[in-house]
Amino acid sequence: MLPPQGSAYAAEVDTVYMALFWLSVVLFLGIAVCAIGFAWRYRYKPGRVTPHQTHNTMLEIIWSVIPLLLCIGIFFWGLHGWMEAAVAPGEAMEVQIVAKKWIWQFEYPDGTRTVNELHVPVNKPVRFVMTSEDVIHDFFVPDMRTKQDIVPGRYTQEWFTPTVLGVHHVTCAEYCGKGHSDMQAKLSVDTDADYQKFMETGGTEWEDYKNNPAAWGKLQWERKGCSTCHSIDGTRIPGGGPSWKGIWGKMEEMNDGRKVLVDQDYVIESEDFPQAKIVKGFEPIMPTFQGLLRSHERQGIIAFIKSLGNDPNGGPPAPTVLSLPPKPQPGQQAQGGAQGQAK
């Protein structure tokens, strides 16, 4: 009847559910047996006189008080299970979710972002802090017995401790329009080792992209959100930045009249200190990505920008094979992330 239990508190939810189920079965059978039984036992006979029973106060009290007691019991039982699900433990890892029509964006503590694919380590509590960019969505993981609306303009939260390895289904449970039923994601509960690997490489697809940095860079362009401001087809996104098409190796004019060569250093500087040099005709609105990009991700982006350039020989060479960054020290990454975001 219920999906497999994937989280630590799913068991309690299921117990309450099953208890209610059996209580309902018993009550329903009682009602059904009476209704059908009486209809049969006292079926119509012409001339039979029925007793004139107007009421029985004792009975009224009994069948008000017993259900009341049952209800009080159910309420507290349900409250107990829910409290557990409502309050996330302090040590929980925090993953941010931004939902929009009709995709899921996950951001991990170190700034890694994924879309429609969520990785969490097994047996560690994880807490989601969620918000929406457009309408209300709802983060629903049936196996975890958890669900919470994602409301634009504010943050809501949800947490669970995944206990079962493997892929679980994430689905949007608040009506959000045409793609509502296609707004799905995969939640993969990994062993610690797998999760570490995912964290280092920033995506499980890493293995496939090692030798194709430009494609890897394109993926980062989508995932890191560059695509919201930078087009790759030469058009200018309103309220965004310059298109990346054809900028590699070009002498870009800045708003103070300087001319700057778009090369590896300049791109890295733009990522980390975007306000340092502002391209002529644009506003200084680009957020800093300092601490949010791994070196192989930067390499990928550079290769990608280069691949869009009209002058194949311009600028310094971009990498053709990606190398992994050195293993991060635990704690450092998260710190870097926080610093990077501080204004």
Partner: protein
């Protein structure tokens, strides 16, 4: 099973008056300008049944779309996601606002309640007609919004989706606004009628329980519906002028809309069920030929349900971003409504106990109601419980829950009541056999359609889904087949009733041996209801053979 009438009509031998309310005046104009509550009731009946029919067709389309996850019929995708969203929105909106809310009170209640009170009409006959025309206007606007660009918000119109989607949402909200006023007018009218137009000798506790139910409903209509009105007005303003109350981009709060909406719409579900329960409280004593057990308890439970219904609305917002404290409070209060509902249930069973029960069509519907409402109500408890609701909310479990209470509860009771008062309203008897067959098919089809959905929902199938995972396919297919059985039963029932209209007047004044006042007048009643002012001699539901000494 008996196919003949099991009760001798009390007054069937009285000569039938030549003129009754149906043929006293002729011509369409005489209907359109009538202020006779019976005629208005009949017009409402035609209206709401048409709405039910249209809503039902949309429901069948919904089910047909969900037959397979590929949505292919004869190798083609006939319904796209966009269309599907519009279809279920219209299904929900039509069923709720055009059909079920006016169904029992405005159609049957309008016809029967003044008769039960021994009154000549409702308190404000012209207001009554105005209410009907507002309903018509609302229906026309709803249909227009369907034609000019459809609405895909779901019947709940949640912001900010409803403020940003295109289509004729503004027109639809205005339609519902108008329908709300139609409902308010009915409510005002009925409260005043019950207070002031009871015939001599009818005290509060001499009123039939149907009147108690309608009265409680009318209280909710008066006190809750204005909030729906203002909510929808705000929504329309938000769309047109971006006033920014519900829109987070302009500093508003989308959850506020949900509070506003459910402050009306939870009480509204009791606008739906109370009249259904009211009908059952008539059917069970009549067909058990036994006095109502616990009359006062049932009467009080109607009023207390009406009042309690105002303080539980937050149970629709458990995962909506409402504060945790509010969740706890609303969950606790939600359980309170189970008590009066249970009191009713048990008193109905108590009435059947040691009765003299015959299973004519209305009684078959009454027993269906007992079973189906029990399931619907008990699953409401799953939803009121915090920990289980988090899993079940916005899944098919909720869909199944509310169809069990609305379709299995109210609509079943409505159809039962329709059969019960059909002879009084039309003067014709339908074919008992086909009525019973219809009742059985409806019962089976209904359970096939919606029992499956509890399992779908528990497994995690979200509602308002056009696409779904393959694992849910068998249950969805079963449900779809069930909807065809259900549709068949309803068509049969409708055909049976309509066929009876071709006969000459043949219904006795009191075919079922009812004790309430409406059975004392002729079938169909005369224009002013009673030849002489009726006087209540004994309490309703008194089935003792000898009249009690007064």
């Amino acid at each position: 099973m008996e196919h003949t009438l099991t009760t001798q009509p009390h007054t069937g031998d009285r000569p039938r008056p030549a003129k009754n309310y149906l043929n006293a005046e002729k011509g369409i104009w005489s209907w359109m300008t009538t202020v006779d509550h019976k005629r208005i009731g009949v017009m409402y009946l035609v209206g709401v049944l048409s709405a039910f029919f249209v809503g039902g067709i949309f429901a069948l389309i919904v089910r047909l779309t969900l037959l397979t996850p590929s949505h292919k019929l004869f190798g083609k995708v006939l319904i796209t996601a966009q269309t599907y969203n519009r279809v279920f929105t219209l299904h929900g909106a039509i069923m709720v606002f055009l059909f079920i809310i006016p169904s029992v009170p405005a159609a049957l209640g309008n016809f029967v309640m003044p008769l039960m009170l021994g009154a000549k009409d409702v308190a404000f006959p012209r207001l009554n007609l105005a209410s009907f025309y507002l309903w018509v206007l609302g229906a026309v606007m709803a249909v227009c919004s369907m034609i000019f660009g459809a609405v895909d918000t779901g019947w709940t119109f949640y912001t900010p989706y409803s403020t940003t989607t295109d289509g004729a949402v503004t027109l639809m909200t205005m339609a519902v606004f108008v329908l709300g006023f139609s409902s308010i007018f009915t409510g005002i009218n009925f409260v005043a009628t019950v207070h002031k137009l009871r015939a001599p000798g009818i005290g509060w506790f001499d009123m039939p329980l149907f009147v108690w139910g309608i009265y409680s409903t009318a209280i909710i209509q008066v006190l809750a519906t204005p909030v729906l009105g203002i909510t929808l007005a705000l929504l329309a303003l938000e769309r047109v002028f971006s006033i920014g109350i519900f829109d987070p981009k302009l500093g508003g709060d989308p959850v506020l809309f949900q509070h506003f909406f459910w402050f009306y719409s939870h009480p509204a579900v009791y606008i739906m069920i109370l009249p259904g329960m009211a009908i059952i409280s008539e059917l069970i004593p009549t067909f058990s030929r036994k006095t109502m057990f616990g009359y006062r308890a049932v009467a009080y439970s109607s009023v207390s349900l009406a009042l309690l219904s105002f303080i539980v609305w937050g149970h629709h917002l458990f995962v909506a971003g409402q504060s945790q404290l509010a969740n706890v409070i609303f969950s606790a209060l939600t359980f309170l409504v189970a008590i009066p509902s249970g009191v009713k249930m048990f008193n109905w069973l108590g009435t059947m106990y040691k009765g003299n029960i015959s299973l004519e069509t209305p009684m078959m519907y009454a027993i269906s109601f007992l079973l189906l409402f029990a399931i619907g109500g008990l699953t409401g408890i799953f939803l009121g419980t915090l920990s289980t609701d988090v899993h079940l909310t916005d899944t098919y479990f909720v869909v199944a829950h509310f169809h069990y209470v609305m379709m299995g509860g109210t609509v079943i009771a409505f159809i039962g009541g329709l059969h019960y008062w059909w002879p009084k309203m039309t003067g014709r008897m339908y074919k008992e056999f086909w009525g019973q067959v219809g009742a059985v098919i409806v019962f089976i089809g209904f359970n096939m359609t919606f029992l499956t959905q509890f399992f779908l929902g528990s497994q995690g199938m979200p509602r308002r889904y056009y696409n779904y995972l393959d694992q849910y396919q068998p249950l969805h297919a079963f449900s779809t087949v069930g909807s065809w059985v259900l549709g068949l039963g309803l068509f049969l029932t409708a055909a049976n009733l309509l066929a009876s209209l071709r006969k000459p007047y043949d219904a006795p004044d009191n075919p079922w041996g009812g004790t309430t006042l409406e059975w004392q007048t002729s079938s169909p009643p005369i224009t002013h209801n009673f030849e002489d002012q009726p006087v209540l001699e004994k309490a309703p539901y008194d089935y003792r053979p000898e009249p009690v000494a007064h």
